[in-house]
């Protein structure tokens, strides 16, 4: 089947996640072979996902982990005078 560009865009996210069925996948790939516009859209969308998953893009506040574990340490200390975790109150 010949897909038009709009049809490809509608499925682009599922295509990236590999959740389209085999037949549609084949049709999309056929379309991508000769459509520069859709190929570029696919590549750019994928690039955004690569960039999103890159730890440098969304960084944690400096000292976050240290503060978190200090707080947790206090909590654990406190709870030592109580029955086992989860069974309080």
């Amino acid at each position: 089947m010949n897909l038009d560009c709009k049809h490809v865009w509608e499925h682009i996210s599922e295509y990236i996640d590999m959740t389209v069925d085999a037949e549609l996948r084949k049709d999309i790939e056929l379309h991508l072979e000769h459509c520069e516009i859709c190929s570029a859209i696919l590549d750019s969308t994928r690039n955004i996902l690569v960039l999103t998953a890159d730890d440098r893009t969304f960084e944690l506040p400096v000292g976050y982990s240290k503060r978190l574990h200090e707080r947790l340490k206090d909590e654990i200390e406190k709870s030592k005078h109580e029955p086992p975790v989860g069974e309080t109150k």
Partner: protein, 208 residues
């Protein structure tokens, strides 16, 4: 069941049996995830950090109520989401929920921005600091329901079912929201990339 879950189950059993310090180890792989989940909801660094701490403390206190039928990460994400929503309600009043419900049907332009020169510069572009900043800003500007799904799926790399369970929506809604979020980001970032891309464009400009 993977090794991670097996190890986790072992850790959890030992913590519940009294080796409480092991909770540090249990939580360590998820610190980033908890913070990002909070940040996706409250969109404020210090609120997100406070919320992340509360989430971890709450998980510690209620560990005995964790049932092995869900993944620990999903259980933890659910606590984080609830924590985030509570904070948001406190900050904004109770208007949030009704917005959530109508948004899926909201008509928007969910078509991507066509551009043909982006594919030629990915590695170079992905190294750019400004591009990271632009992406952060674009994610922050997504409507809440789209941002939350996007963060769980594409930033924390949780799967569709885990995301659905944590957010209390169905897997179909996860797919729709994710698709829209990605397209909105593509559209938003396309002009940015185009303006910073080297002047190599045109359908056949690609080096073979």
């Amino acid at each position: 069941m993977g090794t991670v879950q097996t190890n986790e189950a072992g850790l959890i059993a030992r913590i519940l049996a009294g080796e409480k310090e092991l909770f540090h180890d249990l939580i360590r792989p998820y610190e980033r995830m908890v913070y990002l989940t909070l940040f996706a909801i409250v969109k404020n660094e210090s609120e997100a950090e406070d919320g992340a701490q509360e989430t971890v403390i709450s998980a510690y206190r209620h560990l005995a109520s964790f049932r092995g039928d869900a993944k620990f990460s999903t259980w933890l994400t659910t606590i984080a989401i609830n924590q985030g929503r509570r904070r948001l309600r406190k900050a904004k009043g109770a208007a949030e929920e009704s917005i959530e419900e109508e948004a899926d049907s909201h008509k928007g332009d969910f078509t991507p921005a066509p551009l043909t020169d982006w594919r030629e510069i990915p590695l170079e572009a992905l190294e750019r600091k400004e591009l990271r900043g632009a992406l952060r800003a674009a994610v922050a500007e997504l409507p809440d329901i789209y941002r939350q799904v996007f963060v769980l799926r594409d930033l924390e790399e949780q799967n569709i079912d885990e995301t659905a369970e944590a957010l209390g929506i169905n897997p179909g809604a996860v797919k729709v929201r994710l698709h829209r979020a990605r397209i909105m980001l593509q559209k938003r970032l396309a002009p940015f990339l185009r303006s910073t891309a080297p002047a190599r464009r045109g359908f056949f400009g690609r080096a073979l």
